[in-house]
């Protein structure tokens, strides 16, 4: 492959502009760190950290960047289709853009945002000092970051994947997608997928083994429950993706025929494997959001969560059902009436536990005292908008009717109506809610609320027209359409909505800068009058989380302790055992990244050498003696005095 081919994406002005902005951004960060002599600080406090709070913050930072990367893709798509026969993008670039939009938003925006919030909140909510395997947690993050970096690199070198985020075979095979784009797909997803699998193991262990004394399973906060169930789904679903991606790589780069059209291969196998992972994946990003809404609605209605047991049960039922509905993604594949009927019924059945949750949230607010803070606005906006996504989901679940919705804009509208009010509103609610806990100051409420209204209204302007277009026979993924179809006006409306969404998200990020400059510091620890343990410790949280690990006797222990005037963090200090920071995860993932990058271009010798680097770090770790360190009683006392005295 010569240089011209290698950099062929750059020959398109739009892509070139995007590539330049990526490079300029990277240069600014590097130059800034050098100028302010912050490299040492940055390495010691961030790149080599094993602190769950810092890892969580890094996850969210990457997620926000990817939100804008995927958002630009989305705007380009809406701009291209805003008028009929538009020539802003050609078919090839449109195809690359909708593919990377899907991949970035699901795997590199929604996932890290959710995992970032889990990282920050879970140990605090269960009264733990870190996750069960802090170093593994850092490996998870850096593998994810390596995967995200690799996928974004495809934009600059070699070309992006262009077979849709579902990468159906035979389209994604080497025969029909000969560029390296889909090699990036299999390798970038593989890296971050392995990271996610480790996260799953880590958080299940953390929640099962490290809860504060007295916190039995049925006394856990709802967010912790949702994260436990989510990670169980991760551990069952992600290995399927790992295998599918490995087979994809073998097919594309080693000439195997797993998904080939001849020699006993089966293209339908890919669709099945993809969705056996892909459908549970939807619940991996939605259940934690349900958990976040549960916390926020209870806090700002000043009432305990209604029907706690049925909330837990409904999530367990959803997680089980999520594994037996995958074929509804391809009712049109021609499996008979029997198979389609079974999958229709299992799919529609999910509406029942989901409905139970909606009604429990509504009833939580009854007799409450509702405060309309920014996080609460997201939670309240979620209910009416997500319900539209839910009921259209039931409509799509009906196999016969799906023959008319499948592959249309109706479907596109439906899953945006699920994922944006569900996952995106969920993580944004959590982000506003827990921000003061992370940084010790609030995000400005006025800016936060303005951004919310922009996002909520523009969202409906963008996506509601797509339902109508779908019912009018507008197939998805078409880079253009002719004026005679009459699809023009509604597409234009949708584009205008997209611009509004962009304004909302820019306001959201501007709010970070504004609040950093102007909001008062040293907010009190329990800023929202919360119910769960994370509000019992200082803001920002000290490295060891809790000087004294609280003892729990009931659900919402902290809330009742406040009412009864008890201090659950009182006691005598003892020395605290903490893990040491380590650069190994960062460097090891760096070698993983190199190996994957060379593998994309089938440069096996450098890829193998890079993998030797990875194994070198593993070997080193196997013989390394690192028993962590202790924070002395004096140090704990001094820190606590300082954090308390500041208030």
């Amino acid at each position: 492959m010569n240089a011209k081919e290698l950099f062929h994406p750059m020959q398109e002005p739009m892509i070139l502009a995007a590539a330049i902005s990526i490079i300029v951004g990277a240069v600014v960060v590097v130059a800034g760190l050098t100028y302010f002599k912050k490299w040492g600080y940055f390495y010691k406090n961030w790149l080599s950290t094993v602190d769950h709070k810092k890892i969580g913050i890094m996850y969210i930072a990457v997620a926000l960047v990817m939100l804008f990367r995927g958002g630009v893709d989305a705007l380009l798509m809406r701009a291209q289709t805003a008028v009929p026969d538009n020539g802003l993008l050609d078919a090839q670039h449109y195809n690359e853009i909708f593919t990377t939009h899907g991949l970035l938003m699901i795997l590199f925006m929604a996932m890290p945002f959710v995992i970032g919030l889990m990282n920050i909140v879970i140990p605090l909510q269960i009264g733990a000092r870190d996750v069960a395997f802090p170093r593994l947690n850092a490996v998870s993050f850096w593998l994810f970051a390596a995967g995200a970096g690799l996928l974004n690199l495809s934009f600059i070198i070699g070309g992006s994947p262009d077979a849709g985020w579902t990468a159906y075979f035979p389209l994604a095979s080497i025969e029909f997608s000969p560029t390296v784009g889909n090699n990036y797909y299999s390798l970038a997803l593989q890296l971050s997928g392995i990271g996610t699998l480790m996260t799953g193991v880590n958080f299940i262990t953390t929640i099962i083994k490290m809860r504060a004394p007295g916190m039995t399973l049925m006394k856990m906060p709802m967010f912790t429950w949702s994260v436990l169930i989510t990670n169980v789904i991760i551990v069952f679903a992600f290995p399927v993706l790992t295998v599918a991606l490995a087979l994809m790589m073998l097919d594309r780069q080693f000439g195997t025929k797993f998904f080939a059209m001849q020699d006993g291969g089966m293209d339908m196998l890919w669709a099945n494997l993809f969705w056996v992972w892909g459908h549970p994946e939807v619940y991996i990003v939605i259940l934690p959001a349900f958990g976040i809404f549960s916390e926020i609605i209870a806090t700002f209605a000043r009432k305990n969560l209604y029907g706690y047991k049925s909330m837990v049960m409904s999530m367990v039922v959803i997680s089980l059902l999520s594994f037996i509905v995958w074929a509804h993604h391809f009712y049109t594949m021609g499996h008979g009436v029997m198979v389609n009927s079974v999958f229709s019924i299992t799919t529609m059945a999910i509406a029942v536990p989901t409905g139970v949750k909606i009604f429990n949230w509504l009833l939580t607010m009854r007799h409450g005292k509702i405060q309309f803070t920014t996080p609460m606005l997201y939670a309240l906006g979620f209910i009416p908008i997500f319900t539209i996504g839910g009921v259209t989901g039931v409509m799509l679940a009906m196999a016969s009717a799906d023959y008319q919705y499948h592959n249309t804009m109706f479907l596109v509208a439906h899953f945006h109506y699920v994922l944006i009010p569900g996952t995106v509103f969920g993580v944004l609610a959590g982000y506003h809610y827990w921000w003061p806990k992370m940084f010790g100051f609030r995000l400005n409420e006025k800016l936060g609320k303005t951004a919310f209204w922009f996002i909520a209204i523009s969202f409906n302007v963008t996506f509601f027209p797509l339902f109508i277009l779908g019912l009018d026979g507008y197939a998805r993924r078409m880079y253009t359409y002719s004026a005679s179809t009459g699809y023009g006006p509604l597409n234009m409306l949708s584009f205008i909505g997209g611009l509004g969404l962009a304004v909302g998200f820019i306001l959201l990020v501007y709010n970070i800068y504004y609040s950093w400059k102007h909001m008062p510091r040293n907010e009190q620890a329990d800023i929202w009058d919360g119910r769960t343990l994370e509000w019992a410790t200082h803001s920002p949280v000290p490295e060891y989380n809790f000087a004294i690990v609280p003892t729990v006797t009931r659900l919402d222990e902290y809330w009742f302790a406040k009412k009864e005037g008890r201090d659950i963090t009182a006691g005598t200090f003892e020395k605290i055992h903490m893990p040491n920071n380590t650069g190994t995860p960062f460097w090891m993932s760096g070698f993983f990244f190199l190996a994957a990058f060379f593998a994309v271009f089938s440069q096996w010798i450098p890829a193998i050498i890079s993998m030797l680097g990875v194994f070198g770090f593993m070997l080193h770790r196997s013989f390394e003696k690192d028993h962590g360190r202790y924070i002395s009683v004096e140090e704990v006392a001094a820190t606590e005095k300082k954090l308390r005295g500041d208030k």
Partner: protein, 296 residues
């Protein structure tokens, strides 16, 4: 406020569309598409009822229990939940889902079989296969083949046999029937009939690469006499489809319409049926014996 904007949007859309044709999906021209249209309308009505319940409850909670309305010293009570309410909002959705499940199973069986009223009629079989960004239509009974257009007699049961010479495509004539995948390793079937004479948009709806957006064809329904006349015309005036010509067609990206007085099925038989595919380990010889029964 949000709901208001949503309502305005819906009304805006309705007024905008009021002057025009009904949406494609709700403008069926055959029994298969009509069954689906009715199913969809029924499901929309059911779902509107659910939305109404949720929106009413939400509006009630948000107006009645806001902090600004409560006394400053009001402290909300502790409520564990109610078994009665939980049973109600579990059982009612189960009933709704059960109802829709019955509708789904029935309508799915309806559209997956020969249309009602055509039971005693032998269907006209048309093979529709895709390659790159075009469609080939083979009429084995008539011994003719077309590219990128398909003519159908009205009031006649028709069976489309679908497959692909490459990536998965989805064959869709929304006003006549729901879509189905065309795949390289097995044949799938769509049953339909057209009730009236007319021209309908048909397309591949499943993304299959660069030329996807333009992968459309025209489906024209005509009286039996017109259809027979057209078949005669093609048979007498067009050249037969040679293997060489067909291979040329397969590799081309986009082509215009064309017609031939023989089909490619003679030298390039279609793959297996889905049901047969599921019942056997695919061995080389079974492929041949299966396809012969369809393509004589």
């Amino acid at each position: 406020m949000k709901k208001l904007s949503l309502l305005m949007l819906v009304f805006g859309a309705i007024t905008m569309l009021a002057g025009c044709e009904p949406l494609t999906i709700f403008n069926p021209k055959g029994p298969n598409a009509e069954t689906l249209s009715n199913t969809i309308i029924l499901s929309i009505i059911t779902m509107a009822f659910i939305l109404l319940v949720v929106y009413t409850l939400l509006a009630f909670m948000l107006t009645k229990y806001r902090a600004s309305k409560a006394a400053a010293d009001y402290e909300p009570p502790h409520e564990e939940g109610s078994h009665l309410l939980e049973i109600i909002w579990t059982v009612i959705p189960i009933i709704i889902v059960a109802f829709l499940a019955v509708v789904t199973v029935r309508t799915t069986s309806t559209v997956e079989a020969r249309p009602d009223g055509y039971d005693n009629q032998e269907p006209l079989v048309i093979y529709a296969s895709s390659s790159n960004w075009k469609w080939h239509f083979s009429y084995p009974e008539q011994g003719i083949e077309t590219v990128n257009y398909v003519n159908l007699p009205v009031d006649r049961a028709i069976e489309f046999k679908l497959y692909s010479f490459g990536p998965i495509t989805s064959f869709w004539i929304p006003q006549l029937a729901g879509q189905k995948y065309a795949m390289s390793d097995m044949v799938t079937t769509i049953h339909l009939a057209a009730d009236e004479v007319g021209s309908f948009m048909g397309r591949n709806s499943n993304f299959n690469g660069r030329g996807f957006a333009e992968m459309e064809f025209e489906a024209q329904s005509m009286t039996q006499q017109d259809f027979d006349k057209w078949v005669m015309d093609v048979k007498t005036h067009e050249k037969p489809l040679t293997e060489e010509k067909f291979n040329e067609l397969l590799t081309a990206e986009h082509v215009g319409r064309s017609s031939y007085s023989s089909t490619h099925l003679e030298f390039r038989p279609a793959p297996m049926e889905h049901s047969e595919h599921m019942n056997m380990n695919h061995t080389e010889d079974s492929t041949d014996s299966e396809t012969e029964t369809h393509s004589h």
